[in-house]
Amino acid sequence: MTNEDARQLEGIKAGYQEKYGFHVPENYVFKARKGLDRAIVEEISWMKGEPEWMRDLRLKALEHFFRRPMPTWGADLSGIDFDDIYYFVRATSQGAANWDEVPPEIKETFDRLGIPEAERRFLAGAGAQYESEVVYHKVREDLERQGVIFLSMDDGLRLHPDLVKEYFSTVIPYGDNKFAALNTAVWSGGSFIYVPKGVRVEMPLQAYFRINTQNMGQFERTLIIVDEGAFVHYVEGCTAPIYSSDSLHSAVVEIIVKPGARCRYTTIQNWSNNVYNLVTKRSVAYRDATMEWVDANLGSKVTMKYPAVYMVEPGAHGEILSIAFAGRGQVQDAGGKVVHGAPHTTSKITSKSISMGGGRASYRGLLKVHEGAWGSRSNVVCDALLLDDKSRSDTYPYIEIDEQDVTIGHEATVSRVGEEQLFYLMSRGLNEEQANAMVVNGFVEPLVKELPMEYALELNRLIQLQMEGSIG
C-alpha cells in the first residue's frame, strides 16, 4: 500500500472512531511475525479489545489445533507449512503490498473482465475501497431502520457481545475439525448479521459493503442469525481473481435459521492459484426454515468445502447448489452435507464439477438421515464434466440412512463434451474454444440462474476466459 493509501485509510478509520465510537487501542503495535503460538493469539485478542470469554475460547481452540492431527482424507495438504504463515492480522493489506507485486495474469484478467481501475487495486488488496463508503452508509441507514445488524465480526463482538456469545461456536465448535480450531483461535474479519423477526432484507447483503476491516481475510469468521420468519441473502466473494499473498485461508461460517425463516448464502470464490482454501460452513435450520447454499469454486490451489445444512425440526428444508471448476494444478474437493434430524424435512444437493487441463474436481457429500426423521425426502444430483483426457473427477457420496420411511434419490453422471455437440456448434460458426465454452456454460446454467445478475454475467465470461487458458 502506498503512503497515500495508508493515510487515507487512517483517515477513514479515524472518522469511524469519531462517528461510531469504535475503539482502536492507543499503543497499536503492528508485528510482522510468522508462526503461531499463544502469544500471537493473546495479542490478536488484546489488539481487538475482546471480552475475556472470547480470548479464552481462542486459547482453548489453539490448544486443540496443536493436538489435532491433519485429516487423512480429502485433498493433499502436505504443502502447507504452518510455520511459514502470518496468523496475525495485517491491518493494512492482505493482498499485494503494492500493485507491482500483482501477477501479470491477474492484471490481464481485470482488463478482460472490464474491472474499473479503482476496483482493481482494491481487489488486489493494494488499496482501500473508497467509493463503496457512500454505498455502505446508505445501506446501513436502510438496515438500521429495519433493525438489521450488519457489521464486521469484530464490531459485532464489540457492539453486541451478548448476542454474539449466545450463538458463536454453537454451530461449529472448535473441536469439529482442525481448521475450525485454527479459525476459532486466530479469526479476524468476516460478517456478523442479525435479522429481526419477520424482517425481509430484499437487497442481497455483500461483504463488499463493510470497509472498516479488510474484506477478504485469511481467517474470516461469519455468524448469521435469521430470526423467526425473516429473510436475508448474503453474497460473498467475487468472480474476479483475488490475488492473495497468504497461502492459507480457513474461514468458518455459522448460520442459524429460526422457525419459518429463510437464508441464502452465495459464495463465488476465485482465489489465486497459490491458496489453500479450507472452509467450514454449516447452518442449522429449525421448524419450517429454509437454508440455501449457492457455492461457486473457481480458484485456489486446493479447496476443501462442504456447506452443510442440519435440519433439526420438522418442515426444515436445505438446498446446496455447488459448482467447482478445476483447471491446471487445481484441486476442488467440494460438495455438501445434509443431515435430516427431524421428520418431514427435505433437502436437495446439486453439484456440477468441471475439470480441464489436468485439474481435479471432486464431489464429496454426506446425506444423513437420523432414525425418527420419517417422511423426509432428499435428492442428490452430481454431474461431472471432463474437458480433456488429462483431467479427473471423483465422486465420494456418503449416504447414511437410519430411517425406513423416507424417499431418497441419488444420481451421478460423468460426461465429456461430445464430438457431435462440438461439430454442431462449430457448424454454426463458433470456433472450437467458443463451442467448448458454450457447452460448459450450459452445463453450469442451473447454478448461474440462481446468481444475482452481475455475477451471472461475470461468471459466464470468466468461464470463457478459463477455457481460453489465459488464466494460469
Binding site: M426, N431, E432
Partner: protein, 256 residues
C-alpha cells in the same frame, strides 16, 4: 457475383469404407436442387462432408465454395463463408437457450469479420428473432427453451430452419429435413424455406421421399445411388422416381 458450391469428383471414406465414389454437383445462389437416393446411397455422408465433420475422410476430389477450397477449412470457417447445414438429427446443448445460442452464433460471425465488433445490439437481435419466428409460426417463448432439449421432431426441424433464417447463409443444405414431420409441420417448414430461398440463398434439399418436393419445388433433381449421381434432371424426375421407385433406376444404371 453469384456464389456457388462446387463438388467435383468427390470420394469419401467412412471408417475406411468408401461411401462416395465420385460425386459431381454444382449448386448456385438462387437455385433449388434436390438430391434423392435410397438408404445407404451416401446422402448424409455428403451432407456431413460438405460441412467438415472430422469422421468423414475425403480421399479424392474437391469442394469449392465461393471460390475457396473448403477441404482446408474447419466447420466454423465453412459456416463463416456462408454454408449452412440443417441437421437430420439436431444435437442437444443443455442449458443454452435457443435465443442465447443464436445471438452468440451471430456475434461469432460479426467478430470474425471485424475483431472490434461489439456484438449485435439486443433490440436489433430481438426484432430479427421475432420476425423469423413469426415466419415459421413459432411461439416466441420457444426461444427460451434449451437448444433441442425435449424438442419434438417437428420442433427440432423448425428450429434448424429458424437458425438458417437468422444466419442467412449463401447456400443451405437440408439433410432429410422432412423425416419425422407430419403434413402440417412439413408445410410450415417448406413455406419457411421458400420464403428464405431466393437470389441470395441457394438450397440443396436432401431427401429420401418425393413428398417435400411438392412444397419446395426444385429446379434441378439429382439421384444418388451407391455413392455417385447417376441421373440428373428437372422437377419431373422426382415424380418419375416416385412412380417407378428406386429399383427402376437401379436397372437403368445396371443396363447402362
Amino acid at each position: 457475383m453469384v456464389a456457388a458450391l462446387e463438388i467435383r469428383n468427390l470420394h469419401v471414406n467412412v471408417e475406411g469404407r468408401p461411401i462416395l465414389k465420385g460425386v459431381d454437383l454444382i449448386v448456385r445462389q438462387g437455385e433449388i436442387h434436390a438430391l434423392m437416393g435410397p438408404n445407404g446411397s451416401g446422402k448424409s455422408t455428403l451432407a456431413y462432408t460438405l460441412m467438415g465433420h472430422p469422421d468423414y475422410e475425403v480421399t479424392a476430389g474437391q469442394i469449392i465454395f465461393d471460390g475457396v477450397d473448403l477441404l482446408d477449412l474447419e466447420a466454423d470457417q465453412r459456416s463463416q463463408l456462408g454454408l449452412f447445414l440443417a441437421f437430420q438429427y439436431p444435437v442437444v446443448i443443455s442449458g443454452v437457450t435457443l435465443a442465447n445460442f443464436l445471438r452468440q452464433a451471430i456475434n461469432a460471425r460479426r467478430k470474425a469479420a471485424d475483431p472490434e465488433d461489439k456484438g449485435i445490439p439486443i433490440p436489433e437481435f430481438r426484432a430479427a428473432l421475432k420476425e423469423k419466428m413469426d415466419l415459421l409460426h413459432m411461439s416466441h417463448d420457444f426461444a427460451g427453451r434449451y437448444l433441442n432439449e425435449g424438442f419434438s421432431g417437428g420442433e427440432k426441424k423448425r428450429a434448424e430452419i429458424l437458425q438458417m433464417a437468422m444466419l442467412e447463409p449463401k447456400i443451405a443444405v437440408l439433410d432429410e429435413t422432412d423425416s419425422g414431420l407430419d403434413i402440417d409441420a412439413l408445410r410450415i417448414v417448406s413455406e419457411g424455406v421458400n420464403k428464405l430461398a431466393g437470389p441470395s440463398m441457394g438450397v440443396l434439399v436432401i431427401t429420401h421421399y418425393q413428398r417435400i418436393l411438392n412444397y419446395i419445388k426444385p429446379q434441378f433433381v439429382h439421384i444418388l445411388l451407391d455413392g455417385r449421381i447417376v441421373q440428373s434432371g428437372g422437377a419431373e424426375l422426382a415424380l418419375h422416381l416416385e412412380q417407378q421407385g428406386y429399383d427402376w433406376l437401379r436397372e437403368k444404371v445396371d443396363e447402362g
